[in-house]
Amino acid sequence: MIELVQDPIDTARLLESVASHQAGAIVLFVGTTRQFTGQRETDSLDYECYPEMAMAKLEELETEARRRWPIVEIAIVHRLGHLELGEASVAIAVSSPHRQDAFESGSWLIDKLKEVVPIWKQENWADGTSQWVHPGVEPPEKP
């Protein structure tokens, strides 16, 4: 189950989708919107993506994770559009016979998602300004 969704992420549905009598462990990761990044306060976020490529990359990640770990089921859901503080932007669930594989693959999947999947976050700061987040890029003097 790999989905890009506009509505709030239903974590119960992810957990159900990976449940299996072959699995002894489920690990669910949920990424949520933090209020403070250092001293800077976030009011809300907007996410956009390149849908065809994002789906292709997420499917590649599922394939690679299954090659590396004995996984029963994987579910990855990323939210798009406008998110308020505290809402979940991403959820990843993995089930496996033994728990160490679920922890390792879940951690690897969110690391890789953040590296390679074409999804972008715009911070809407509490001071009223907004900014696309592009790690490593200095914003122009007058955006």
């Binding site: 990424g31 996410y47 956009e48 993506c49 390149y50 065809e52 490529m53 994002a54 292709a56 990359k57 990323h78 932007s89 991403v90 969110i110 998602l113 953040k114 590296e115 390679v116 999947v117 074409p118 999804i119 972008w120 976050k121 715009q122 696309w132 987040v133 592009h134 790690p135 490593g136 890029v137 200095e138 914003p139 122009p140 955006p143």
Partner: protein, 81 residues
């Protein structure tokens, strides 16, 4: 040849366009496209050192050839999750 290039996030913001069209000599590769984009859209300057190009839904190296049927996009550093 003419290549349509999808723009996302800050790349779209800086160019104020969701798709830009770039004219390239034939044959052309990703490196030629990057150079043409930066000349045609100086506003992309802040992304110059971070400009990844996707061709047909995958990241493409500088020597990847392009043709008019290619699905091409500018991928600024991603920040999902």
């Amino acid at each position: 040849m003419k290549i349509d290039v999808k723009m996302f996030a800050a790349a779209r913001q800086y160019t104020s366009q969701a798709v830009v069209q770039v004219e390239l000599d034939n044959p052309a590769c990703v490196a030629n496209l990057k150079q043409a984009l930066l000349e045609q859209f100086p506003a992309l300057g802040p992304l110059a050192n971070h400009l990844l190009i996707a061709v047909d839904n995958d990241y493409a190296e500088d020597d990847c050839p392009l043709d008019e049927q290619s699905e091409v996009a500018v991928i600024p550093p991603v920040s999902g999750g």
